[in-house]
């Protein structure tokens, strides 16, 4: 199957109009020596056959496990209306809205998305989205480097290791000096942070809740950061913002994060949604597309891509970033998800997550040999210490039908017996009880 509408007659007529004898003639500029040495691609298949092959493969994935794995990527319920809107092909088969008159639907939707991100984070401006939470954090860091003209970054080790690793990869050819701050009793060590904070610091990067699930109020840190003329950057989990103090309320200059939890399926790691919001004075340092409101020649409100002079198609090697797309369809999902929930719904979602995690903590603390870490409050994810290697426990729990959590030994030295457990609104009381019982049985 090839989705080509041309009949033999069409082709004949078109070749005639071109003045070519054959289609091959159109490829005459490709020297014979450069023709493919091979092109061993299997013969085409029908839609039915391909669908069958892929259905079979999808069933080879074990999605039936009861999921307690989070680590920055969460198993939330997605209302049907989100899927229905994202399936409108007037949205998903369009491209970047370069021509505003025939793209007002997309432009307005992105403007609404930007507003929602500002409302959630408590900051002034948002871009039209970035690839994912990790690349968004890198871009935020580079904004701080450009804005301050400095190159020292203080990075809390409570920031997701996946993101920290990405920052190191991206800066391997740039002269950026990193200082990692240890986590002590689950929280960012203020003492170490303040020791390293100086007038060479471009930014301090923190995460809330941090990778261990600990919730913090960083207002005190941000105050100090600003005294040295540096920027404070927060990586945040948007569902938690239905309950937790917003980055803007703590004084952060830039907030970024992974928007997957806002109505985007886990889908084995992507596509996801990097969001970014900042104080208005940083807007010209922002990377990526930005939509602005304006008026048409008759004074009617309309929306356009704006501040394009920051971007690669105009500034080329001097652009703020090489990014030329956004994750528009994922941003749309987030906008629909949040609009649907509204302020009550998002508060409720956060409350359910918090209550269920607290319930799980309480149940787990009844198990002998299991210690629930309580040095900091948590939102929907927390750390437990097991009497044996967490890797083994995870494997045994798989046999019981549970993806029981993320073993911290994979990311942190000396934490082989620690397990990170996430409890979203999807986990029922019954599932949590069975989870605790099964854990007791495998320990």
């Amino acid at each position: 199957m090839s989705f080509i509408p041309h009949t033999q007659e069409d082709i004949k007529q078109m070749l005639k109009a071109i003045g070519a004898g054959s289609i091959d003639e159109l490829f005459k500029d490709i020297p014979v020596a450069l023709r493919p040495k091979s092109f061993n691609i299997p013969a085409g298949k029908s839609e039915f056959e391909v669908t069958q092959i892929l259905r079979r493969l999808s069933l080879e994935n074990a999605t039936g496990l009861v999921n307690f794995v989070g680590a920055g990527f969460y198993d939330h319920f997605i209302p049907a209306a989100v899927d229905a809107i994202a399936a409108r092909s007037e949205f998903y088969t369009a491209y970047t809205p370069y021509q505003p008159e025939c793209s007002q639907g997309w432009l307005q939707a992105i403007y609404e998305y930007q507003t929602i991100i500002c409302q959630l984070t408590g900051l002034d401006v948002s871009n039209a989205s970035l690839y994912d939470g990790g690349t968004a954090l890198f871009e935020a860091m580079m904004m701080a480097v450009r804005h301050t003209g400095r190159n020292k970054i203080i990075l809390d080790s409570g920031v997701n290791l996946i993101y920290r690793t990405m920052l190191y990869t991206y800066t391997s050819n740039l002269s950026i000096e990193f200082v990692e701050i240890p986590v002590v009793h689950g929280q960012s060590s203020r003492r170490d942070l303040f020791k390293h904070l100086d007038d060479k610091t471009a930014a301090v990067i923190l995460q809330n809740p941090n990778f261990f699930g600990a919730v913090d109020d960083y207002s005190d840190v941000v105050g100090q950061v600003h005294k040295f003329g540096a920027l404070a950057i927060a990586s945040v989990y948007p569902v938690s913002l239905g309950m937790l103090k917003a980055p803007g309320e703590m004084g952060f200059d830039i907030a970024t994060g992974e928007g997957q939890s806002l109505g985007i399926p886990l889908s084995f790691g992507g596509p996801y949604l990097g969001f970014m919001a900042a104080k208005s004075e940083l807007v010209r340092q922002m990377p990526g597309r930005i939509v602005g409101a304006t008026v048409d020649s008759e004074g009617k409100r309309g929306f356009v891509l704006t501040l394009q002079t920051r971007e690669q198609h105009i500034r080329r090697e001097k652009a703020t970033s090489n990014i030329c797309s956004n994750e528009a369809l994922c941003a749309l999902r987030a906008a629909v998800f949040v609009s649907l929930l509204g302020r009550e719904g998002l508060r409720e979602l956060a409350e359910h997550n918090y209550q269920k995690a607290e319930f799980a903590k309480e149940q787990l603390s009844g198990l002998s040999g299991v210690e629930v870490k309580r040095s900091s409050p948590t939102f929907n994810e927390f750390t437990i210490l097991l009497p044996r290697n967490a890797d083994e426990v995870v494997q045994r729990m798989i046999d019981k039908g549970f993806a029981c959590g993320f073993p911290l030994g994979r990311f942190y030295k000396g934490m082989d017996n620690y397990l990170l457990v996430a409890v979203t609104e999807k986990r029922t009381k019954e599932e949590i009880r069975r989870f605790v019982d099964s854990l007791e049985a495998v320990l």
Binding site: R284, Q308, T309, I314, R315, K318
Partner: protein, 129 residues
Amino acid sequence: MNIPKNLLYTKDHEWARIEAKTAYVGITDYAQESLGDITFVELPKKDEILEQTKRCATVESVKAASEVYAPLSGRVLSVNAELAAHPELINQLPYEKGYFLSMEFSNDSEKANLMDAASYQRYVEGLSK
């Protein structure tokens, strides 16, 4: 095309008005005309040291960003703060309220590298041919 007599000009379409040791700097009528509606200017900081022919500012229109080069070397005395809120002044009054900055220039002999109004006029006419 407005090319005031009392100013000095560069090939990149900047102008300088000399008052004793101070030079006022901006872009010419020709420059603002070819850039179109200016939406933003990035200016240097007070006391920044500028070097003749090196970048000192950037002007942006909707679809372009252009560098502005210092007509003379020296220290920035002040920048035109009004441009932040009203970049359109550059389009409206490029030689007056649309000026970019004032500077204390350090090397008198550099003036020889600039054109007077008549030479600039000929230069601009040559460009449009």
